[in-house]
């Protein structure tokens, strides 16, 4: 939902970033206000997943130029865990498996860490169990997820649901969903999208990184950005995604009509 008066949550200007010496981001600009949903689309290798990881502070990536402000605060000064505690959440494209660590234990530690940071009450294992089971209903997850090791042996769809479950628990102010739709069948996609929509409100914002338009049928973006070669080359409303789906990414270079439709 666009509201020009709402607070600026994320302000990125001329962001350059490298991984192992190779420059992947070459001057990204984006502004996200609370209440907004943004989609970043683009071909593989365009830099969209890198952008999400750089925001979250992945240690393999180095910011070489530009500014990165979250709620007015310089993100580059913060360690990844501090960014998370400040309210930035990344739903991973490939969530890692952590053998031996029970999901409920992991979820509770993450939840209590963030709660503690916000000066709010932490939950003991029994209280947390009730709380998390309630959240799991939102995503139609089987309670046996709680006793399994984090992501270990989960199907692709189960991993993605587990990511959104974490988002539901941590209630971030800015959620980055990196290819959350990949690997989901249509039913799972609906469930996940429905969960995300219920979590979305006027005080938080969402950036969806996706290759396909499909997800955007269920989570309707306010803005669609197209990324190419490490920069956002086009920004428009949700109709841009439709046009890309119909014509393909090459079309963007032959059609200039949509440019400039942005605030």
């Amino acid at each position: 939902m666009i509201n020009a008066n709402s607070k600026i949550l994320l302000e990125v200007h001329d962001l350059h970033a490298t991984v192992s010496g190779a420059e992947i981001l070459k001057g990204v600009d984006i502004t996200v206000r609370s209440g907004e949903i943004h989609a970043i689309m683009g071909l593989n290798g365009s830099g969209k997943s890198t952008f999400a990881k750089v925001l979250a502070g992945h240690p393999s990536y180095e910011v070489t130029r530009g500014t990165l402000l979250f709620d007015g605060q310089d993100l580059s000064a913060l360690a990844p865990e501090e960014r998370a505690r400040a309210g930035i959440f990344l739903a991973f494209q490939y969530p890692v498996e952590i053998p031996g660590v029970a999901n409920n234990q992991f979820l509770r530690l993450a939840y209590n860490t963030v709660q503690g940071q916000r000066g709010e009450e932490e939950l003991d294992p029994l209280e947390f169990d009730d709380f998390v089971r309630e959240k799991m209903k939102l995503l139609k997850m089987n309670p046996d997820f709680l006793d399994r090791s984090v992501n270990e042996g989960f199907s692709g769809g189960e991993k993605k649901r587990n990511e959104i479950l974490q988002m539901a628990l941590l209630e971030p102010r800015l959620a980055l969903l990196d290819e959350t739709d990949s690997g989901l069948d249509i039913d799972a996609l609906r469930i996940v999208a429905n969960g995300v929509n219920q979590l979305s409100n006027k005080d938080n914002a969402l950036i969806l990184v996706t290759h396909y338009q499909r997800l955007l049928d269920y989570i309707v973006p306010d803005y669609v950005h197209v990324m190419e070669a490490g920069r956002i080359i086009r920004t428009s409303g949700k109709e841009l995604a439709q046009a890309l789906e119909t014509h393909g990414y090459d079309w963007i270079h032959t059609n200039e009509q949509i440019t400039g439709a942005l605030p």
């Binding site: 979250a56 990844p80 865990e81 660590v101």
Partner: protein
């Protein structure tokens, strides 16, 4: 992130103090006179001196083994003192008579014997350098017929039991270090659980090496008669010295029909500094004989200390339906080396064994699992399940697995599973992205990795082991 992790792992050893207690220490060197001196200091019967001297003579003709996957400079056995006892040496009738300096040491170690023993309901025997200082709860145990005392005292008071069992599971000529131990052992624990008695509390021994140039050669003997059961805990620490000290113990367990012995170790000897200087050589022979039908021997070890750990707590499964278990966590950091595992020798029919080994290597350390499963021709329907998992932290450490499987009976079922994993940047980033810092993440991953072993430990030890591991590995991820 890796720098933070490095700091975490590299915290100093907290048991590295020396206690200023006057010691009665034998001159350095090893010869028959020294052995006679030890034997006479301990007022031993003639047969035990003979046992020692025979072991010594065998040892002289043995060659130090070199097959292990650990490296260390040649040990000068003439440069070790084989006997060191805290003075004064008068007989202690109660804990109140123990040297207060010694008691303070135990408090520094986190084991105030009075409170802790009472609170935890644990009977504690403390071996300081070579001599057993105090055994708590002795009377209470005696009421049900359990003998729990130092092996020196047992030699005096129960010579027939000692003579009957000593060296029957680990014979004096068993191996190089067992022979050395048989010649010079100075103290250790003795535990005898009579027929039908379930030991009402966990029995515990704390070992402490305090003197720079003394070796520690303790000898432990545990016997569980028909239908008896006992859970025995062993903890170890030592001060930090720049020289290496040798710890060559022998532990023998004997379980008769339907008896059950559970032996748990948390070993935190001084591991040397971050450059690999100093530390204990922990060369130990531990073996249990499941002699009777339906008997069970279970080893659980958490090995975090020592410059070198080289030991294979083993089970000889002779009784029909007998069970052997080995649960192990071995952690190495900096320049530590470990070559540890077990031997399961199946002799009786329907014998079963389980091996769960977890090796964690960080820094420039090296950790090996070495295990033998032998199914002899008489072991009909024997079963073994082995699982060996290794975890690497950083890129300069090593993990190795050497499983030996020898099956001579075709009704056997033997399974072996192995895995190697690594705490990677991506795992830590995943935790960090959920607000969890590296220290907590490593601790959670490691504890998850070791869960199956920790579950085997008595609760109090499990808590201690968990803390010790986190402490040990803080900052080790690179």
């Amino acid at each position: 992130m890796s720098a933070a992790l490095q700091n975490l792992v590299n915290q100093p050893y907290k048991h590295g103090f020396v206690t200023n207690i006057e010691s009665d220490i034998a001159p350095k060197g090893l010869n028959e006179d020294i052995i006679r001196l030890i034997s006479s200091k301990k007022n031993e019967p003639e047969w035990l001196l003979t046992f020692r001297l025979e072991a010594y003579r065998r040892w002289l003709n043995m060659i130090e083994p070199t097959w292990q996957n650990v490296k260390y400079p040649k040990i000068n056995f003439q440069n070790i003192s084989y006997y060191s006892a805290p003075k004064p040496k008068k007989k202690l009738a109660s804990m109140d008579e123990v040297d207060p300096e010694l008691l303070r040491t135990f408090e520094k170690l986190g084991i105030p014997m009075h409170e802790r023993a009472a609170l935890a309901g644990v009977a504690v025997d403390v071996i300081f350098d070579s001599v057993s200082v105090a055994t708590t709860y002795k009377e209470k145990l005696a009421e049900v017929g359990i003998i729990f005392c130092s092996i020196s005292e047992a030699v005096q008071r129960y010579p027939e039991l000692i003579r009957q069992y000593l060296g029957t599971v680990v014979p004096p000529g068993d191996n190089y270090y067992a022979a050395l131990n048989s010649a010079v052992f100075t103290d250790g624990s003795f535990c005898f659980i009579p027929k039908g008695v379930k030991c009402p509390m966990d029995l515990s021994t704390y070992f402490r090496i305090n003197t720079e140039e003394s070796g520690q050669f303790e000898r432990t003997l545990i016997i569980a008669e028909e239908g008896a059961s006992v859970s025995y805990l062993e903890g170890c620490t030592a001060p930090r010295f720049d020289t290496n000290q040798l710890h060559a113990a022998v532990v023998e367990l004997i379980a008769l029909d339907d008896a059950d012995i559970k032996y748990s170790t948390v070993q935190n000897w001084y591991a040397g500094d971050e450059n690999g200087v100093g530390g204990i050589y922990n060369f130990v022979t531990k073996r249990g004989l499941a002699k009777g039908r339906n008997s069970r021997i279970s080893w659980t070890q958490v090995e975090t200390g020592s410059a070198i750990t080289w030991k294979y707590p083993s089970c000889i499964l002779r009784g029909e339906n007998s069970v052997g278990e080995f649960y192990s966590v071995a952690v190495t950091n900096h320049h530590q080396q470990a070559d540890t595992g077990t031997k399961m020798i199946h002799i009786g029919p329907n014998t079963r064994s389980t091996i769960v080994s977890k090796g964690i290597s960080a820094g420039q350390s090296n950790s090996s699992y070495r295990g033998l499963v032998r199914i002899t021709p008489t072991a009909r329907n024997a079963r073994n399940y082995s699982q060996c998992d290794s975890m690497l932290i950083g890129s300069q450490c090593g993990a190795h697995t050497f499983p030996y499987i020898q099956v001579q009976n075709n009704s056997a079922q033997v399974e072996h599973e192995a895995s190697t994993s690594k705490i990677g940047e991506d795992q830590l980033f995943y935790f960090a992205q959920r607000g969890i810092d590296a220290e907590e993440a490593v601790s959670m991953i490691i504890n998850g990795f070791c869960k199956e072993v920790f579950q085997q430990l008595p609760l109090e030890f499990a808590v201690e082991a968990t803390k010790l591991l986190s402490f040990k590995l803080e900052g080790s991820v690179g």
